[in-house]
C-alpha cells in the first residue's frame, strides 16, 4: 500500500496582507494576555466602542464579539451556549452574549482564550442587548463598566445635539478610565491614533471598493476575516500598513486579471447580515460552487471611521450601521449594490440579532426594488449552530442563482 504523502503548505509570505492581518489579529490577543500577566488592567470592549479612547490611553482591550465569532467558527458555539443557557439565559438572546457570559464563568475556551477583564467598555450603538450582557459580567466579576449611550437615530443625519450628548459621555469615559487605570490622555497621542485609524479606514474602504471591477479581484468572504483587524486594531500603525498592503494586492489582482475568488465569477451578490460563523464553510461553498461571488457587504462601510477631530469622531460613532434609520441604512446598501454591480441580495436572518434582522424584510424589499435585483433570505445565527438548515439555505441560494441566470438571459 502506497504511503500517503502529505503535502506541506507553502510558508505564508510575511509581506502578504493575509499574513500581516492574521498576525495583527492574533497579536491583539497575545499582547493583552502579556499585559495582564504584567499586572496591567485589561478591558473588554464593544466592537463599536470608540477604540481611539483606550488606544490613546495606551490600554489593552479585548473584544468579546470577536472572541465569540472565533469560538463559533471553530465549533465551540453550541457548547458555550449550553453553559449560559444552563445558567438561565434564554436561547432567544444573542449567541455572542451567551458565549461571552459562558466564557466569563469558565474563564477558558480552547478555541480562543483572552484575559479576564478589569473593566468593561460598552457602547449601545451596535445593540441594546449588549448593555445587559456587559452589566451582568461587570456584576458577576465585580468590576466597573463604562457605558456610552448612543441611541438609535431616527433622523437621517446626526444632529449637533446628539454630537454634544455623545461628546460629554466620551470625556466622561476618558476621565473614568484615567481613574481606573492611572493612564493619562494627551491630545498629541489622540491625534496620532486618529491618524492611524483614518489611514486604516481609508485603505479598508478603498480595498473593499475594488469589487467595482468585474470580475472582482477578491472573494467577499475575505472581508469577513480581514474586518477583525478593523474591529480590534484600527487605531494602530500596523493596521494601516496591512490595509494598504491589502489594497495594493487587490489593485494588482485586478491588473493581472486574477482574484482570491477561486472559481469563475458568474454572479455577484451582496451578503446582508453578520456571517453565519458556525456554518461559514457551508455558506461559502454554497455560493462558490455556483459561481456566486459575494462582492460586498455593509462591513465594507461599517468599520471605516474617517474624521478630522474629536467632534468628528463623536459623529462617526453615531453613524454606524446598527444605529442609523432604515432610509439611511438602505441608501448605503443601494450605493454598495450599484457601485459593485450586484445582481442579487442574500439576507442572513440572524436569529441572534433582532435589531439587524427586524427591519431587514422591509429594507431588503426596498433595496431589491431600487436596484431591480432579486432578494432572498435564509435563517441562521451568527454563533449558535442550531438555528441553521443546510438544505433550506441551498434551495434559497439556488433559487436566487436561477433568477440571476434568467435575468442574464441564460434560461429565458
Amino acid at each position: 500500500m502506497a504511503e500517503e504523502v502529505k503535502k506541506s503548505r507553502p510558508a505564508p509570505d510575511p509581506n502578504s496582507a493575509k499574513f500581516k492581518l492574521g498576525q495583527i489579529a492574533a497579536k491583539a490577543y497575545s499582547d493583552a494576555m502579556e499585559a495582564k500577566k504584567r499586572g496591567e488592567k485589561i478591558g473588554w470592549c464593544a466592537s463599536n466602542f470608540p477604540v481611539e479612547i483606550p488606544a490613546t490611553l495606551g490600554l489593552y482591550v479585548c473584544y468579546p464579539e470577536n472572541q465569540a465569532a472565533g469560538i463559533a467558527a471553530r465549533g465551540g458555539g453550541e457548547r458555550m451556549c449550553n453553559v449560559s443557557e444552563g445558567d438561565g439565559y434564554s436561547n432567544d438572546i444573542c449567541a455572542y452574549a451567551r458565549i461571552s457570559l459562558a466564557y466569563a464563568k469558565l474563564k477558558e475556551a480552547p478555541e480562543q482564550d483572552m484575559p479576564m477583564p478589569d473593566f468593561m467598555l460598552c457602547c449601545n450603538n451596535i445593540c441594546n442587548c449588549m448593555i445587559k450582557w456587559y452589566e451582568n459580567i461587570a456584576k458577576e466579576l465585580n468590576i466597573p463598566m463604562i457605558m456610552i449611550d448612543i441611541p438609535f437615530n431616527p433622523d437621517y443625519e446626526v444632529s449637533d445635539a446628539e454630537t454634544e450628548y455623545i461628546k460629554a459621555q466620551f470625556w466622561d469615559a476618558i476621565h473614568q478610565l484615567e481613574e481606573i487605570t492611572g493612564k493619562k490622555w494627551t491630545d498629541e497621542q489622540f491625534k496620532k491614533v486618529m491618524e492611524y485609524s483614518g489611514r486604516a479606514s481609508r485603505a479598508w474602504i478603498e480595498a473593499t471598493s475594488q469589487a467595482k471591477y468585474v470580475p472582482s479581484p477578491f472573494n467577499g468572504f475575505d472581508l469577513l476575516n480581514h474586518m477583525a483587524v478593523m474591529v480590534t486594531a484600527r487605531g494602530t500603525a500596523q493596521a494601516g500598513d496591512a490595509m494598504e498592503t491589502l489594497l495594493k494586492e487587490y489593485i494588482d489582482n485586478h491588473e493581472k486579471g486574477v482574484s482570491t475568488f477561486r472559481a469563475e465569477e458568474k454572479y455577484r451578490i451582496m451578503f446582508e447580515g453578520i456571517a453565519c460563523w458556525p456554518w461559514l464553510r457551508v455558506t461559502s461553498t454554497g455560493l462558490k460552487s455556483r459561481g456566486i461571488n459575494m462582492v460586498t457587504t455593509i462591513y465594507a462601510d461599517a468599520f471605516g471611521f474617517i474624521y478630522d477631530d474629536f467632534d468628528g469622531m463623536c459623529r462617526a460613532y453615531a453613524n454606524v450601521p446598527n444605529c442609523m434609520n432604515l432610509e439611511h441604512s438602505r441608501d448605503k446598501r443601494v450605493k454598495l449594490c450599484r457601485e459593485n454591480h450586484v445582481e442579487g441580495l442574500l439576507v442572513h436572518t440572524n436569529r441572534s440579532c433582532k435589531l439587524w434582522s427586524g427591519f431587514m424584510p422591509e429594507m431588503s424589499r426596498q433595496i431589491g426594488e431600487a436596484c431591480g435585483i432579486p432578494v432572498t433570505s435564509f435563517d441562521g445565527d451568527q454563533a449558535d449552530p442550531r438555528n441553521f438548515s443546510e438544505a433550506q439555505y441551498d434551495t434559497r441560494v439556488q433559487g436566487l442563482m436561477e433568477i440571476m441566470e434568467a435575468n442574464k438571459g441564460g434560461n429565458e
Binding site: P374, Q392, T395, G399, E402, I403
Partner: protein, 257 residues
C-alpha cells in the same frame, strides 16, 4: 422526445414523463422520499405506465430537497424554478404561485412570460406547511385526505392562535378536551395555515392569477381559507402536487430540444 422530471420532496417522490415538452405521458406520486426506494419506485412506475425504457428518455431533471442525492439527472434545478415552470404550463396567466409542501411554503412571483422574478419562503419553523397539517390530522385521528371533508362541515370555525406547531398541538388538544366539534377545529387548522402563508404572499406581492401548487393544495379547506384570506380566487389543478416534477420535465425538454 421524452423528458423525465423527478421531484424528491420531504415526504413524497413525484415523477412526470413529458412528450415533446407538451403532453404528459405518465405521472406518479410515491409516499416515500430520500433514503428509501421512493424515487426509484416513482421512476419505475412512470416508465412502466408509459411503456418506455430509460434509454428512451432524452433528458432528466431532478428537483426538490433530495435533488442533489439523485445521481441519474442531467441537471439539478430548485423546486422554485420548477414549480414556476409547471404552473405556467397549466395556468399561463398565473402571476403568483403559492406552493405548500411537506416542510416548507413558498410564494413565487412570475412575470408575464411565466418566469420567476422573486420568491419568499417560510423560515425554519414548520408552521404553515404540510407537516403542520400532518401533526394536526394525527391528533384528530383523521387521515390527511379527510381534513378537506371535515372542514367543509364547519359551523363555528375555531381560531388556532399559536404559530408554533408544538404549541398549536396543545391548543388543539385543549379544544378537544373542551368538546369542540371536529369540523370547527379542522377548519381552524386550515385557516391557520392559510393565514401564515398569506402573510408570506403579501410580502412578495399578490399578482393575479394566484395558483396553489404542492401537496397541501389538494386540501380544499386550505384553498378556500387562502382565497378568503387574500381576497382573490385561487386557481387549482388536480395535478397540483406534480407541478415541481412537471416543471423539471419541462426544464429538461428546454435544455435538450
Amino acid at each position: 422526445m421524452f423528458t423525465l422530471g423527478i421531484d424528491i420532496g420531504s415526504t413524497t417522490s413525484k415523477a412526470v414523463i413529458l412528450k415533446d415538452g407538451r403532453e404528459i405521458v405518465s405521472s406518479s406520486i410515491v409516499i416515500a422520499t430520500v433514503g428509501t426506494d421512493g424515487v426509484s419506485r416513482a421512476i419505475d412506475h412512470v416508465l412502466e405506465e408509459s411503456g418506455l425504457t430509460k434509454e428512451d428518455i432524452a433528458g432528466t431533471v431532478a428537483t426538490g430537497y433530495g435533488r442533489q442525492t439523485y445521481e441519474g439527472a442531467d441537471f439539478q434545478v430548485s423546486e422554485l424554478t420548477c414549480h414556476a415552470l409547471g404552473v405556467h404550463h397549466v395556468c399561463p396567466d398565473a402571476g403568483t404561485v403559492i406552493d405548500i409542501g411537506g416542510q416548507d411554503a413558498k410564494v413565487l412571483s412570475l412575470n408575464g412570460q411565466g418566469r420567476m422574478v422573486n420568491f419568499v419562503m417560510n423560515d425554519k419553523c414548520a408552521a404553515g406547511t404540510g407537516r403542520f397539517l400532518d401533526v394536526m390530522a394525527n391528533i384528530l385521528k383523521l387521515d390527511i385526505s379527510q381534513l378537506e371533508v371535515e372542514a367543509a362541515k364547519a359551523v363555528n370555525v375555531v381560531n388556532i392562535s399559536s404559530t408554533c406547531t408544538v404549541f398549536a398541538e396543545s391548543e388543539v388538544i385543549s379544544q378537544l378536551a373542551a368538546g369542540t366539534d371536529i369540523p370547527d377545529l379542522v377548519a381552524g387548522i386550515c385557516q391557520s395555515v392559510a393565514t401564515r402563508v398569506a402573510s408570506l404572499a403579501r410580502r412578495v406581492g399578490i399578482k393575479e392569477q394566484v395558483f396553489m401548487s404542492g401537496g397541501v393544495a389538494r386540501n380544499a379547506g386550505v384553498r378556500n381559507a387562502m382565497a378568503k384570506e387574500l381576497g382573490v380566487e385561487i386557481q387549482y389543478h388536480p395535478m397540483a402536487q406534480l407541478m415541481g416534477a412537471l416543471g423539471a420535465s419541462l426544464y429538461a425538454f428546454d435544455k435538450k430540444k
